[in-house]
């Protein structure tokens, strides 16, 4: 049979019951949007988080004591790490959390040394200066940024850190190392922790075991691989909970099935009549599926578009926060990931819809024409 007449007839048939077609469209696009949003967000969050981890050190070493975290003496720490083969580019960091008014902010202390620079071409701050992340409130005119830690320190603001700096937290203040030490109560020659890289991520676990005994004090070592695994599990659990938690989506699915049932039931006399006019069971099944595709494909596309808009519309951050507790930088999705998410959404929503359409059509076309016309079909 020619596809053009079949398409034309399907469109006319849908036009005879516009309310049912609209209902089906809305139900299917809603289910698609909800399922695709979770899948797309899951992939985007994992990819973005992986990107952040790729730029982070392979291993973080913290000194710990009975009361928890303790300042780390820089010289003996670097000496201990350099004794372990496989440790690459060990360096100490000065960072911590202090109060800016009544709001907590993360401070990072830096100093101008050979070969070190901040992203985005911004100048390394001198003592008394600070750069602010996008989430930190700009101080009132004529006033400095007042930070309170072990001491109270007021800094002159040099500017904003660029969005493209790909910082993991937007409540960040970058300041000189001396100011940071004063705020965190560190002595000269002390740091918050020590980080290092490795040649291969697979070596990190064995190196961590070796390093744990190389320091003169107890340390806690976290590898990038362990963090990646822990967060992958966390995001997968949140994604699954998100899918299950969409009760409205399930209700929409019930609506969809009910609509298909009504469609199949109400269409039976017409099916019988068409058989009497020379349509075969195969023709009717093709009509049923063409009709389903004419509604289903646009609904599926609209659902995906809706999911995309909800996930990536600029400034729309409530869904990532709700589903994945994500307040990090703007999410990114790779073409490969987008195609994978769409394929999965198709498998979860569109294929079952097509199977349901095929089944309801098959049930209908089985009966004798006169039984269908008189409403006595199966």
């Amino acid at each position: 049979m020619n596809i053009v007449p079949m398409m034309a007839w399907s469109r006319r048939d849908l036009g005879r019951r516009p309310a049912l077609a609209v209902l089906l469209f809305l139900a299917l696009s809603t289910v698609t949007a909800l399922v695709a949003a979770v899948l797309i967000l899951h992939h985007a969050v994992v990819r973005t988080f992986d990107g952040l981890l790729d730029h982070s050190p392979a291993m973080v070493v913290r000194r710990v004591g009975g009361g928890g975290w303790m300042p780390m003496p820089v010289a003996p720490a670097l000496s201990a790490v350099r004794s372990a083969p496989g440790a690459v580019r060990p360096r100490t960091r000065i960072w911590g959390v202090v109060a800016a008014g009544d709001v907590p902010v993360t401070i990072v202390g830096v100093e101008k040394v050979h070969g070190f620079g901040l992203p985005g071409g911004i100048e390394v701050p001198t003592p008394g200066q600070a750069w602010l992340g996008t989430g930190v409130r700009w101080p009132d005119k004529g006033q400095g940024l007042a930070l309170t830690g072990r001491q109270r320190v007021t800094l002159a603001v040099s500017g904003r850190l660029p969005e493209s700096a790909a910082m993991a937290v937007h409540d960040l203040v970058v300041l000189h190392a001396d100011d940071a030490r004063r705020l965190l109560g560190l002595q000269p020659g002390q740091a918050s922790d020590l980080v290092l890289d490795v040649f291969h991520d697979q070596e990190a676990d064995s190196l961590a075991r070796e390093l744990s005994t190389a320091f003169p004090w107890p340390v806690q070592i976290t590898t990038r691989h362990a963090v990646r695994t822990a967060y992958a599990t966390h995001f997968a659990a949140r994604g699954a909970a998100g899918l299950l938690g969409f009760i409205p989506a399930l209700l929409a699915l019930v609506l969809l099935i009910a609509a298909l049932g009504v469609w199949g039931f109400r269409g039976r006399p017409d099916m019988g009549l068409m058989k009497a006019m020379g349509w075969t069971s195969g023709d009717l099944l093709r009509l049923h599926l063409t009709r389903a595709v004419l509604v289903g494909l646009p609904a599926f596309a609209a659902g995906l578009l809706g999911a995309w808009a909800v996930c990536f519309f600029p400034g729309n951050k409530w869904l990532p926060r709700l589903l994945f507790d994500w307040s990090g930088p703007t999410l990114a999705l790779s073409p490969h990931g987008a195609i994978g998410s769409l394929a999965l959404a198709a498998a979860v929503v569109f294929l079952p819809y097509l199977v349901a359409s095929f089944w309801s059509g098959w049930q209908t076309v089985q009966a004798d024409p006169m039984e269908l016309i008189q409403g006595r079909g199966q």
Partner: protein, 225 residues
Amino acid sequence: MTLACHNLTMAWPQAGNNAEPLFNAVDVGFEFGQMTLVTGPTGSGKSTLLHLLAGLLRPTSGEVRDQGRPVSRWPAGHRDQWRRQVGICFQNLFLMPGLSLLDNVLQSLIPRNMQWSAMVDLAQRMITVLDLAAFMAAPVQILSGGQQQRAAVARAMVHAPRILLLDEPTAFQDDAHAERLMDLFVQCAAGGACVVVSSHDARLRQSDRFHARFHLDDGVFEAVE
């Protein structure tokens, strides 16, 4: 060449085991190239006979044979294919509300593997022949009873069927239109089709254009001279 009922019995399953069959062990043949009129009182089974001949119902026992082939015994898929050679006009018309007159006539042509433009052309010509050209795009439910009946005839005849089955095709027609319809049925038979008309219409009973006549009453077929 005949379309024949062989030892045909039909009883409605929902009427119960003790109900009388509508007709019992009927043997009757309808010739191709001829027009046959079937008359009988209301409820005698004329419409059911046409539905059986069209392969829309399965007989309780016996067979419907098209040139010796037992079509009523064929599986559904084969009967679907065979039914493409049949045109039927129901007593209740069963036009599709919500569709235009043109769409209702096109309904018979869609599964026949034709180009869309050829289908539309054929349907428009059939509608024009039946004096309905002015209502081509009108929703079929706004047509009068007689116009709807001619629309149903157009739908049955548009694909030039080998077997044309017509249930009370002139019931709502004035004399001129009834005569016009009879002309078309005769043309169809002259082209080699087997045309079976079931009717109460006195104008048809008195017409000399039928080649054969049968009267159905109490489950018995009688040839009428």
